[in-house]
Symmetry: C2
Subunit: 86 residues, 2 copies
Amino acid sequence: MSPFQIETIGLIAAFLTTGSFVPQLIKILKHKSTEGVSLSMYLFMFLGVSLWFLYGFLIESFSVMLANLVAGFLQLIIIYFKLKWR
Amino acid sequence: MSPFQIETIGLIAAFLTTGSFVPQLIKILKHKSTEGVSLSMYLFMFLGVSLWFLYGFLIESFSVMLANLVAGFLQLIIIYFKLKWR
């Protein structure tokens, strides 16, 4: 498999795992409630994606860097609402 | 940075992002409720981590493979309870 094909798989994976935070964010905004969403989950995850971003940089994986940059941004928004409406 | 040091960062990242599903799972089991947890989020994410696992295999990243294997397993448990208690 060519590096281009491999990176395409990585980008589809990135789109899915990062995109999976969007329905959760919509649900939070629609109900104006973060009930049932775990703050500790998002705090661990945010720290984790920050390290994944560093790891992606070190192994020179564009997919890993992009996925975790966007995921971290969406998680920060969810953490913000969780703290605002606690 | 040595490959060993890089992989250590990846494994810490893996531990954090995968571990972040544990508090959510505990919360679900404690309250016997999946209210507020988005099913579509977990379905997208499960498909995503499956592709990440494949990507990790293709780029020969042990951290990416391990993180997504364990995360996928935890997500399957959450999806199971979401469907059971819907």
